[in-house]
């Protein structure tokens, strides 16, 4: 049978990806340019017995998905910059309470209310440093409608596998543009479910590290009962200030992600084998970059593209390896240098890094990148 094909908007594809992954709860507070995610979930979830709740604000929305996740549901919220700022306290709570959840954050101009309908890529640092304290961070930055579907499925998989919040951050262009999408059949993409406890309710501890760095999570509403807090916690979930234990706990939480970068980090290399100039880009900007690479190659310039699919954890070793091979990096982004700073850190001075920054609500066009390629080649 022919596969189902549709012409979809990015946000609609994110919602469809969430449903494919088994999401049954959405708590949100609609905000441009992410509103269509909420719209689709509000229509589709009731059909499958799921729940859609529009909360009183973004903080409440984040709280609702943490609560729903603890009952065993796969959960989603969707927001944009101003909403992400409000959610940060509870994103930290989800990190320390080790509650799987997925946050779609469509990047628009900021700070504050900024430019609601203009594209941006300036929330990627908020994805890692927005909530205080050391914590694990996973952030995916897809570049097409099809990829937004697939990466949303992967976001759920990573959230469930590592018991942690996962952010998926399309820029406004990727979220609002429409492209053809081929829906994967059920079973075609991997869908990971969280590990259920193998011990009896009496023996169960929600943070029992004898099961490894990611202890099994029981569902509220079953016979299992446990304590959940934003304080540093012991194996039983109750607060503790025991120094050695807290040190280990903090390190374990970060290690869940930092110790599994090869499982989490994905990227795409295009024309890099003999490249002298490497463009490092993500989201819609990577599409401008690909266009520019093709144009440069036509003119005999050896340019290539490293496309970041997983922004956090950052593809450190790949960029470091590239730094030893190319003459220069170019980092176009719709912010004032967030990715550029990371590339510089990884390159350790082995190759110069030339940023192209745009925050005027317009995309970086291929011509701008091509010009820079010619300048630095």
């Amino acid at each position: 049978m022919a596969k189902k094909v549709a012409f979809l908007q990015g946000n609609e594809a994110a919602a469809q990806g969430a449903l494919y992954a088994g999401c049954t709860f959405f708590g949100g507070y609609p905000i441009t340019p992410s509103t269509e995610v909420a719209e689709v979930m509000s229509v589709e979830l009731p059909k499958i017995g799921g729940k859609f709740i529009q909360m009183e604000d973004e903080i409440g929305a984040m709280a609702s998905i943490i609560g729903a996740s603890l009952t065993g549901a796969k959960v989603l919220t969707a927001t944009s910059g101003p909403g992400l700022s409000l959610k940060q306290e509870l994103i930290g709570y989800a990190c320390i309470a080790e509650t799987p959840c997925v946050i779609v954050n469509v990047m628009r101009g900021g700070p504050s209310t900024g430019m609601p309908t203009g594209p941006s890529q300036s929330d990627v640092m908020s994805a890692k440093w927005g909530t205080h304290g050391d914590h694990p961070a996973i952030c995916l930055t897809p570049a097409s409608v099809q990829e937004l579907f697939e990466e949303t499925v992967r976001a759920f998989n990573l959230a469930e596998k590592y018991r942690t919040p996962v952010m998926i951050m399309p820029d406004e262009i990727v979220a609002h543009m429409r492209e053809r999408i081929v829906f994967p059949e059920p079973g075609e993409l991997e869908v990971i479910n969280r590990t259920a406890p193998s011990v009896s309710p009496a023996e169960y501890k929600p943070y029992d590290t004898s099961f490894g760095d990611v202890p099994p999570l029981a569902a509220f509403g079953t016979d299992y009962r446990f304590h959940v807090t934003g304080l540093n916690k012991g194996q039983d979930g109750f607060p503790t200030t025991k120094a050695a234990w807290v040190q280990d706990e903090e390190e374990r939480q970060v290690r869940k992600v930092e110790g599994n970068v090869d499982d989490i980090v994905q990227f795409e290399e295009y024309e890099l084998a003999d490249a002298e100039v490497a463009i490092v880009a993500f989201g819609s900007t990577s599409r401008s970059a690909r266009f520019a690479v093709n144009e440069a190659r036509k003119q005999g310039i050896k340019a290539g593209l490293f496309r970041i699919k997983t922004f956090w954890p950052f593809p450190e070793k790949q960029i470091a390896a590239l730094a030893g091979k190319v003459k220069a990096f170019i980092t176009p982004e719709m912010n004032l240098g967030m990715c550029t700073g990371e590339v510089k850190r990884c390159a350790e001075g082995k190759a110069p890094v030339h940023g192209i920054f745009r925050v005027d609500g317009e995309p970086i066009n291929p011509g701008q990148i091509l010009e820079k390629i010619k300048e630095v080649k």
Partner: protein, 182 residues
């Protein structure tokens, strides 16, 4: 056709131009088996303000999703004509509403003008289908999608009760554009 064909629908927010772009792209992508990307840019207003919807059609993978050098431009308001005609290529198609765009953008364009909104209002009977009149005209002038594919894409988007209205709007736009070009 060439590798990449860029179409821009522009006017005021609320005129349905984003939808016109979406339907054109669906015609290309779903019914004609080509690659297509549709994107848009609009202000925070629900009505008014300059609005544009861009469609890229190609035989191969489309990387940059926005316009670079526009092959065909529709402008339904003077503001849109002034704001969005700067990157229309030489010899490109320029379709304007002859009642609303009095200062025709200067350049070596294939300009086609007819009263698009008035056609919808007085000949089809509903101003709200002006976007479909414009779409029919753009299909005729660009030739980038088939007439059949475009009509199917229009009808797939419309509720049963409004099929005939939209069919008529599409057909009139198609015919008037050809007549106006001649």
């Amino acid at each position: 056709m060439s590798q990449r064909y860029e179409i821009r629908f522009s006017g005021a927010g609320g005129q349905g131009l984003i939808l016109a772009g979406v339907i054109m792209a669906e015609a290309a992508s779903i019914y004609d088996g080509k690659q297509a990307v549709q994107s848009q840019s609009y202000g925070p207003e629900a009505r008014g303000g300059a609005s544009k919807s861009e469609v890229i059609v190609s035989d191969s993978m489309i990387d940059y999703p926005k316009a670079t050098v526009v092959d065909a431009l529709l402008a339904l308001t003077q503001e849109a004509a002034d704001k969005y005609s700067h990157d229309l290529k030489e010899g490109g198609v320029l379709l304007i509403d002859s009642d609303l765009v009095k200062n025709i953008p200067k350049g070596n364009f294939n300009t086609v003008a007819f009263p698009i909104i008035n056609t919808a209002k007085n000949e089809v009977g509903r101003e709200i289908v002006a976007n479909i009149v414009a779409l029919g005209a753009m299909v005729a002038l660009t030739g980038v999608v088939t007439k059949d594919g475009a009509e199917k894409a229009v009808l797939a988007r419309v509720p049963e009760a409004f099929m005939e209205l939209n069919k008529k709007a599409f057909q009139l736009g198609y015919e008037k554009a050809i007549a106006a070009r001649a």
